[in-house]
């Protein structure tokens, strides 16, 4: 490894992005302050040290996905580099393991080869394009498009952060297909015969909503952490981190209290979706537009405010149940 100190995540406030409603840059890049629990910080550091993937589970909206970016942001601040290598890979139901490594544009190559073979290209292409065409054909790598994992393995200077988001969305054999690459930290590009070896062991963060059960062989190699819903005090801290100095303390407390109450009462079925941290923040962002007194009114009369209630409770049954609950 490099001569720098071993990487360590702290989650400390001073390395967090400073949010302001004006700074659209942060919102665009999805950068928010992130307040991890002590245990989560330890889990991250254990995963970094052991070079094992960290598997995160938790309710939707509890900040699983944002963690990876928060780590990357902290590292870039601490090591004073502009962009710490961070590679997100969003999994879809059709994603295959190989796409994370690379895709090979065989059709493009065939097209180029055909063009050269027919000699018509001189009529259609400009000088520069012809030059590029021949360069492409001579370099076998030029038809390779690297995926997130491929890019992470090719990172030379620092240990890259690789986020595999919502791994449970893919086919049930998908995690198994990734095992070898994650374990050996190398793969082969079959089209060119080239072997790509990880120069710096990547820090792998995997999130799952547990929609599908993950294979044992895969679980065995991971460090598992379940992100619990934050306690009241932590919620207040999270809100304050996101809206520094723009909200009154009383208002935040009242809003969080109302929110926790709604979270408990507003679920008609045992397994229905509970309002999460991200929804709380959306709600507060809305409250932030009003002066404190008006905002207080909104908090107190939440049940009557159908449109705002919809930001927190996502089914009609849940909403009705909550309204009944307040009346009764």
């Amino acid at each position: 490894m490099s001569n720098t100190k071993p990487l360590e995540y702290t989650g400390e406030q001073k390395y967090q992005p400073k949010p302001g409603s004006q700074n659209t840059e942060f919102i665009k890049r999805g950068l928010y302050p992130y307040l991890p629990s002590e245990e989560l910080v330890k889990a991250v550091n254990l995963a970094i040290y052991l070079q094992r993937p960290l598997l995160l589970q938790g309710e939707p909206g509890c900040g699983k996905t944002l963690l990876a970016r928060a780590i990357a942001y902290e590292f870039s601040k601490r090591l004073r580099v502009k962009n710490y290598p961070y590679f997100p890979w969003n999994i879809k139901s059709t994603t295959r393991a190989k796409e994370g490594l690379y895709t090979y544009d065989a059709v493009g190559r065939l097209r180029d080869a055909q063009l050269v073979g027919t000699n018509y290209y001189k009529d259609y292409l400009k000088e520069e394009e012809i030059k590029k065409l021949f360069e492409r054909l001579q370099n076998p790598d030029s038809y390779i498009k690297w995926g997130a994992l491929g890019n992470a393995f090719r990172e030379e200077k620092r240990r890259p952060i690789l986020l595999i988001d919502e791994i449970d969305k893919a086919d049930i054999d998908f995690p198994n297909d990734l095992l070898l690459e994650l374990e050996e930290q190398c793969f082969q590009v079959t089209e060119t015969g080239e072997t790509i070896e990880a120069k710096q062991p990547p820090i792998v963060i995997i999130t799952s909503n547990n929609e599908k059960e993950l294979p044992d062989a895969f679980l065995r190699r991971c460090i598992f952490y379940y992100i619990e819903f934050p306690k009241n005090d932590d919620l207040i801290k999270i809100v304050n981190a996101h809206f520094p100095s723009s909200l009154e303390m009383d208002l935040v407390e009242a809003a969080v209290e109302r929110f926790v109450d709604l979270r408990e009462k507003g679920t008609s079925r045992k397994d229905s979706k509970k309002a999460s941290t991200s929804e709380l923040l959306d709600w507060i962002r809305w409250l932030n537009r009003y002066p404190t007194e008006e905002a207080m009114d909104i908090i107190n009369n939440l049940a009557e405010n159908q449109s705002l209630l919809g930001a927190l409770l996502k089914t009609k049954e849940d909403q009705e149940r909550y309204q009944d609950n307040l009346k009764g």
């Binding site: 490894m1 071993p6 245990e39 330890k42 889990a43 550091n45 254990l46 040290y49 052991l50 094992r52 598997l55 589970q57 059709v107 065939l110 097209r111 055909q114 073979g117 027919t118 049930i172 599908k212 059960e213 294979p215 044992d216 679980l219 065995r220 190699r221 991971c222 460090i223 598992f224 952490y225 379940y226």
Partner: protein, 374 residues
């Protein structure tokens, strides 16, 4: 603990056997590595947290509770036995481990490993032993009076006394069910032209001398249609969770069509859409709508094996149903959650002569899928 044993190995074995965790030697190595890196050595709760991160792979509470309980139990016992020796043991046991690593590693490794050599034994001697010994005492004293009060009852450890049915106790896991649905395939090319036929394309290029356009073909669609019939009589109550799992995974599997109906003891006249509701479909209206080349029927029922004995009516009516539906479907299979040794001398034995019957475990499920696929 003998000195030749690697550190915490007894603990690892204890957790593997007692807490019912499926651990492998790789996970023991992960713990050692973590300890060398300075994780989990500052206190007992710290160690617990690291073990939990490395070994527990779900958020389900029974497993976590069991882990916590076994963890505490092990250390309570351990400290009672030899509270003073621990520090020495740990130090002695950890040291050869480091030396081995050092001799193997390069100069860089020695420099990084030096910190753990000095830190883990010293830090583990001080906090682990003292903080936990008073702890274990304070826990033990209040336990004695309660044990005295209940003198008449035989002493029983908690985990043996109470049995909890957790999903991992099923003879087949959700994942295994999911995988097995996949065997059930009758792929037919159908629909829009979405896939490239590489071979035909190459052939075309050879013939025409130039690549004009790829040859497209429709993609594969799974055309198996499944009719899942689930017995919801009282003898099937213990298996309700399992059949729910099967239904849930069936809906997510990519079969051409999958319908689930319920019946009690044997299908007769009507099939119910929900286990506890009266919405029903007439069997003789349902059957003619089935696609006879594609439909397979899978029945989940104990076929009378749970209660035992022979019920001639049950056999006769089941036979009637099978005869009635045979012309409309391709295959039948029966999954019986009762172990096959217990089918003997019951209605199930007779019914298994009519329909291929399999025990509802991994092998049986696989065999059933194979028989449906033919």
């Amino acid at each position: 603990m003998s000195k030749s044993k690697p550190p915490l190995f007894d603990f690892f074995i204890f957790m593997e056997e007692e807490a019912g965790l499926s651990l492998t030697i790789d996970q023991y190595h992960m713990l050692l590595q973590a300890l060398q890196g300075g994780f989990g050595i500052s206190s007992r709760s710290d160690l617990k947290q690291v073990c939990r991160l490395l070994w527990i792979k779900s958020s389900s509470s029974p497993q976590v509770e069991r882990f916590e309980q076994c963890f505490e139990q092990y250390f309570e016992q351990y400290f009672q036995e030899n509270s003073q020796n621990l520090a020495q043991n740990l130090a002695q046991n950890l040291e050869p481990q480091f030396q081995k690593k050092n001799s193997k590693g390069s100069k860089k490794a020695t420099s990084t490993d030096k910190t753990p050599i000095t830190s883990p034994p010293s830090s583990s001697t001080t906090p682990v032993a003292p903080t936990t010994t008073p702890d274990s005492k304070s826990v033990n004293y209040p336990q004695i009076p309660t044990a005295m009060r209940g003198e008449l009852l035989p002493e029983q450890p908690f985990r043996e006394g109470r049995y909890q049915l957790t999903p991992r106790d099923f003879p087949i896991t959700q994942r295994q069910i999911q995988q097995n649905w996949r065997y059930l395939r009758r792929p037919i090319r159908e629909g829009g032209l979405t896939e490239i036929d590489i071979e035909a394309t190459v052939e075309q290029i050879i013939q025409e001398g130039v690549f004009l356009q790829p040859v497209l073909i429709p993609s594969h669609v799974n055309r198996v249609e499944m009719l899942l019939l689930i017995d919801d009589s009282n003898s099937m109550i213990p298996f309700r969770l399992l059949s729910q799992k099967i239904v849930a995974t069936l809906q997510a599997s990519r079969l051409g069509k999958a319908d689930t109906y319920y019946f009690r003891n044997f299908p007769r006249d009507y099939l119910y859409l929900h286990p506890r509701h009266p919405d029903a479909t007439k069997i003789n209206e349902l059957l003619p709508k089935l696609h006879c080349n594609r439909t397979v029927i899978l029945i989940i029922s104990d076929a009378g094996a749970a209660r035992g004995g022979i019920n001639r009516d049950r056999i006769k009516l089941t036979e009637e149903f099978v005869e009635q539906s045979t012309p409309y479907v391709r295959h039948f299979a029966w999954l019986n959650p009762i172990p096959s040794q217990r089918w003997q001398y019951t209605s199930a034995e007779a019914i298994s002569q009519l329909v291929p019957m399999f025990e509802l475990n991994h092998q049986g499920f696989k065999a059933a899928m194979r028989s449906l696929k033919l």
